[in-house]
Amino acid sequence: MLKFVVRRLMMLVVTLFVASFAIYSAMYLAPGNPIAALLGGRTPTPEAIAVLEERYHLNDPFIVRYLRWVGGALRGDFGVSIQLRQEVSTLISQRIGTTVQLVLYASLIIVVVGVALGIVGGLRKGVLDNVVIVATTVSAAVPSFVASIILLSVFAVNLGWFPALGTGEGFVDQLRHLTLPAVALAFSSIALVARITRSAVREELSREHVQTAVSRGIPYRTVVRRHVMRNAAIPITTVVGITVASLFAASAVVERAFSLNGIGAYLIQAALSKDIAVVQGISLVIVAIFVVVNAIVDFLYAVLDPRVSLGASAA
């Protein structure tokens, strides 16, 4: 087990370093002159250019600048937005709360609705199962931004039950503002989780030990709880984890549709205005979250299914 954890952690660190290098060097290729962006149209003296180059370390070799950036990133310092003259870490920390709230809210919806639908479809063959299949086939095909538009149109504009845009003040009001975006973000992922849950439940139901338990007269509810769900939890945990990890990137689209002030919407704004330092910083944060959550899923998987760690140490 320890060996598995150490190996996985090393993989995590290596992935993050390679990813950070890829992000930094990709942005290095981006066209545009930071000096021109700093001066905003004024004609500078050569001395002024030299001072600016010195201050922003523009003359250092590429590898030195990368190492300085990644060293800072490890301490939570992502450099300065040249356009806004503000710390990127400040800009991120002002906005990451909204994104985290939105992702957690959506995750909650995905887990509750997705797993419930999957269990219903898995345990009840026939009409209910068919309803689940049709519902998930449709919801899997609804992109988050189309779901956003439909929810906005129906519940915000026509019925007026929820506010259309913005983040809101105070906990209850924030919850109200985030409800439609969270549903939009969750919509297509619910289908994925429900499908995996359904087939996991089906597979466990057909196992011999489950049929033995049923034939020995153990109450069905107990069999489902103790034998079916406990084993089905392994694939369900995996799919929920991977889904939640991907939500941080996907939330950019929903934040944009609902004018929410999260890091995703800010990443897009920065990309459109070519604010390089911000794009680098937020990209790295999103990739890091994605990689870390995936690693946590792998650990959970090993905890839930002891065979995994055995397989890893044998390899």
């Binding site: 992109p143 931004f145 439909i150």
Partner: protein, 295 residues
Amino acid sequence: MSAIELDPTVVGPVPATRRWRGVPGLRGTGVAGHLSALVLAIAGVVAVFGQWLAPHDPDLTNLSYAFVGPIEGHPLGFDSQGRDLLSRILAGARSSLLGPTAVVTLAMIVGTFLAVATAWKGGRFDRWVSAGLDVLFAFPAIVLAIIVSVIVEPSLMSATIALSIAYTPYIARVLRSAALRERARDYIAALEVQGLRAWIICVRHLGRNLLPLIVAQGAVLFGYAMVDLAAISFLGLGVRPPQADWGVMVSTGQSGVLQGYPLESLSAGVCIIAVVIAVNILGERLTERANSVTR
């Protein structure tokens, strides 16, 4: 004599029941699979001929008709610029379908090549390529598209390239395990003993046996590519307005939604959903069929 007996599509040994078993290539996908293929065929025709099918000029603005609802000759009404919506939907099918097609083609070619090569070579080559693909896995498609949009001017092309890169590791991983299974079969060893060159075995035999899975994966991927590309265009990092495109139309229609005129966004959104549902069902059925054949 019934018409079915004359059907030229029924070939080979006469089945026990002389029912029509479906279009060749779609057999075993059921009614839902055939209906999905029909939807996709219609979408394909619109994508190719949409410009000529459009009853009006999709780019002709007439502000006096802005947000006018459905009237005679204009079954979907007009957008915020007074352009005919039906014409824009028809004209927009092209970029909305061309993009995912290009993404799937590119990712499939590179992904299949990497999968077969790593499964064939094994060893250090396999480890390094797989490790590289694992790193690429860490980049969500949207983030990759955003990074690419900063380096080059955002367009359908840049979004297509970004998504192709993002999907390649996924394809390579799925096909690599299938190729490994196939590589261990006896017929491959037999061909090697006969002295056939590796790439001929890979292309003619291994590749051909992977084809059902490749097609099925392509269908599944098409759905994802369509959604992601439309999302990127929605964000303004792919196809740019005023060009007619479904993803762009969902975005430009958003101001109308808030004013109570949701038809532009909704009709474009429904088109995306319909195509994605069709392609998902077809992909699912084809995957089931591919798995039942190879096992």
